[in-house]
Assembly symmetry: C3
Homo-oligomer: 431 residues x 3
């Protein structure tokens, strides 16, 4: 059953799908233009050649046309037919080669004969084509004309961010990447879920400030940290990379390097509380199939950033191929992911660290109007118990998540009782 | 098989049972008078209206007579028949009401039709009667005469304490409450076990000081903390609330809020060592069915106070009804509880933190006469092993409980070896 | 299948076996002379009567002859027949006793009727013989002539050490004891494995310094600590007592008192990584069947010293009897133990604590030639993953063992990547 949200996501998906994205270039800018309809993105253009930590921002990649002409003079492997046919960041080339010579420039997957692989060569100048192994085997002997009319120009790399201010300057980061061409789960699901999360949060009051960033993977997050690292280090309460979140599959949370972290605690609280969402949790790793969390969690920053996905990144067979397409993903699953992330934000927003102002003995609840008089006995008891737990542990060393974890009381009931106790003058949120 | 101790407990039970106890008043004073035969209680009378933290000591409740006259002019629900018939702290009332009007002032338990419930209205002025649901359903239509001749007067609230001094000023607290009328497990078992524990400890040498307090629940412990809180904060090594300890049921220990605490470690050591006593251990909670530990463990005090009971408070069906009576409890079980608490005190008394005065290498035990020469080889080995463990871990950071936990050696064997090593000049108990 | 190493060990075993060892004396010196052929031992002679902590170095024991003449004038229980026949450290005695009088001076094991027990009387002057229970029962009534021509002279106690220097002054200690006469597992296996470990390590480059000590049990390690305790306290990275390591049985590691310790972490890493060696790990205990670790781990020193053995000390039936002989042990097992200890040294040597010099974001591996270009895709990925883990956790708080434990990457692959990263200027081993 497609919800309205799922339909909205699908519409944007269909507009973003055809664009030829890469680390840099026109496809990325068009992607950010379209996403800007959903949230007020501020563009940051980082000039080619800029040094960011150990890396250099690459030149812009310009693609005019790219195809192969086979011995029968048919045009095949045209980038206009499928963006993945052209090796991403391919160098220009024009020439005529025999079938045998051509082979070193072709990329296919013998184990997945119908899939066009996604291959890049960002930091080494090469030219090449990607194709299904079945098509590769069908390429006849003879001479082939190669037309790869690409260019590398001094331009800039495109990043965007949007900030939703809250009462507090403490921030929650959502980071997703926009450098993958014509794949659906990895990666249109991440930017789409993140953009629609913004829309949902923008309509609500917020305690915390929420920051959303869209950038090319690795070099983009490095550039962003170069600009905002010190700010994030001072302000970030929790952060999440959102990626591979479009499958109708169990949620997966990958912990931040730093443990414990508020990012982990809130994510794990939500995923365990939401019993309807089967979910798995994995420890941090900077190894294969990791993404921008490697940069956020590099030892110099060690930011509390985890990863939200459905299935683990890289652990589905269509990963980084043309089979990661519209048929593979579920817009309902993406809509549900927006809901789960809203739940995480709700927990983060609720998570004050209260301090009992009458800590000697328990306050006389009835005197302060904090003893419920309406409702069934079981409900009244639940409210009193929540209040007792809250006041007992409100010693400045427990935030509401810690109280929820120790007591088993839902954090939102605790937050409701905290508001009531604060209004009654029994509690403060100040340190 | 009733022991002498069980018979003694039973005799005092029978004298205490008929008294009409409440937070304040004559029944409480008579209760403390009778308990004073067992231990030298010092009375503290806290004047009505005294402010204790967020609370106010209530007025004394005076009950002259209370009953209902039914349409057949029969006197029913007479407080003289059963103390529970009168709503505890009931306001005075005289008048004639129709059966329907009366209903709002009656309390019964449809699920337990033979039980008179125990109900109180300490902080809201109401009048009422409690009765079995079967009796309630038998009340005919017609006019009823209500006679509740009670009064609230400025007087005082009664607390008592007794202190058994030891070599050390460090204290162990036992706290129990005396505000429950005509119930057996909750709560004559607590005061009885506590009073007889005093008698047993008074006959023995003591390293620690033991403090015993008898008070009304909640407002009583608040008042006591108001008087003694700072002292307890400085002196308390461990404390226990003793309640609901009269059933022939497994022991239950509820941990102090602060973990780890010496209170918990000693209690859990005893309950796990005493394999003949199946026992359960639960984490601290300030929620429903908790008692004065809520006050002792409030965040401003956070004293190391746990709760000893048999079954958890509130988790037996007769709880807070007339069925919690002499038939329900076992005086043998109470006598056994005295023994278990003596065992806890033995462990606390034994629990010195020794420091090895010859910490470089192991001492030459034989030279100091510490190598046993008598007994079976296995026993001699056990003594040597205990001595080795003791001297190895006697580094000032391990108390005997910690050494017992790490080594598996019984704490009393360790204590025996500590005395021998200390006499031989190898060990000190000084920091 | 006996390896060359096993044969070498066997040859030395056969030369050491006949010597009459004890705490002191000629047999010990001959033992150290023979071991000196394997490693350059420096002798330390501690004069009789020297005070070491709470102990006194005993006099040298001189054994000229010791035997019994039975009623049939046959010489029996001659120390020349079996070293164990004479109570170790037996006082001299000459006289004629009836069978019944003799009995108090005989030691046998009713439960193991064919075994001659190993008995000592170091600190109490007694004379005696040890014999199999079967032989004891065969001793006829009648008069027995006792000839025990021993002597106690002021001399010295013999300890030896050898140091293999490495780049770092941080040390690894291997300690084993040489006071047991004519037993094979306990204790020729320990000195033999330790001496051959030296030979193997001497041929290799070393980061750490390795120290090997051979000494009599208890009084020897006490004397050694008296001399070197302060040095060890400052320098010791890890240490191991090597004992009872000659059986064809699972390896056993006994942890140091201090936990965690590098000694434990390296030992447990090796034993769990080496899946071909079933192994058990036990916590520290100073109780029965412990050895010199009691001294190293006494609270005044608390050195990070564990124990390597095969089966636990004392937990094999032939322990401390004549049945602990050449037939019981396996020279292949000892050779394998040398290999396992070399593995532990490899881990200790590898275990630097690296610090990433480019900690902000991840370094651009390809730029530094750290991205592998040869080998199968899976192997290249393993190398990249190891590098990523290394750089991510190289924050100065993780040593390579910690990185290996958290990542699951083999420590030697991490060490290889650390060398490469250090050469590339990305990493330092300096704090």
């Amino acid at each position: 059953m497609a919800t309205e949200l799922a339909s909205d996501i699908a519409r944007y998906f269909d507009r973003l799908w055809p664009l030829l994205r890469s680390l840099t270039g026109a496809g990325v800018r068009s992607t950010h233009d379209i996403l800007s309809e959903l949230l007020p993105l501020e563009r940051m253009e980082i000039p080619s050649g800029t040094q960011v930590f150990d890396w250099t921002v690459p030149q812009e990649w310009v693609v005019r046309e790219a195809y192969l002409v086979d011995p029968q003079r048919r045009r095949v492997l045209d980038v206009r037919t499928h963006n993945l046919h052209l090796l991403n960041y391919s160098a220009p080339f024009r020439g005529t080669l025999a079938r045998g010579e051509l082979d070193a420039h072709l990329h296919s997957l013998p184990d997945q004969p119908d899939a066009i692989p996604y291959r890049t060569s960002y930091y080494e100048r090469r030219w090449g084509f990607c194709l299904s192994h079945r098509d590769r085997q069908a390429l006849a002997e003879g001479m082939y004309e190669v037309v790869i009319d690409t260019d590398f120009i001094d331009g800039s790399m495109t990043l965007s961010e949007a900030v939703l201010p809250g009462e507090s300057a403490d921030e929650v980061l959502f980071s997703t990447y926009t450098c993958h061409p014509s794949m659906a789960n990895n990666e249109l699901s991440g930017p789409l879920v993140t953009a629609f999360l913004y829309k949902a949060l923008a309509r609500r009051p917020r305690r915390l400030t929420y920051r959303f960033v869209f950038l090319p993977e690795t070099i983009g997050s490095l550039a962003y940290l170069h600009l905002r690292g010190e700010h994030l280090r001072q302000r970030m309460a929790a952060g999440y990379v959102v990626t591979c979140i479009g499958l109708d599959a169990p949620f997966n949370y990958k912990r931040s390097r730093r443990v414990p972290s508020l990012a982990n605690r809130a994510a794990e609280y939500c995923l365990s509380a939401a019993s309807s969402h089967a979910a798995t949790v994995h420890d941090f790793t900077p190894a294969s199939f990791s993404s921008d969390e490697r940069q956020y969690c590099s030892p110099g920053f060690d930011l509390p950033v985890g990863v939200f996905s459905r299935t683990r990144v890289g652990e589905y067979p269509q990963y980084h191929t043309s089979l990661d397409n519209r048929e593979l993903v579920s817009f309902d699953a993406m809509a549900e992911a927006v809901g789960v992330l809203i739940g995480v934000c709700d927990v983060l927003d609720a998570n004050v660290a209260p301090r009992n102002l009458l800590p000697f003995g328990e306050p006389h609840l009835a005197k302060h109007g904090l003893y419920p008089t309406l409702g069934a006995s079981r409900e009244r008891r639940a409210v009193v118990d929540a209040t007792m737990w809250l006041l007992n542990l409100a010693d400045g060393t427990h935030d509401l998540l810690a109280i929820a974890e120790r007591s088993g009381v839902d954090i939102h009931l605790l937050a409701d009782r905290a508001r009531a106790c604060r209004e009654a003058g029994l509690l403060t949120y100040e340190p």
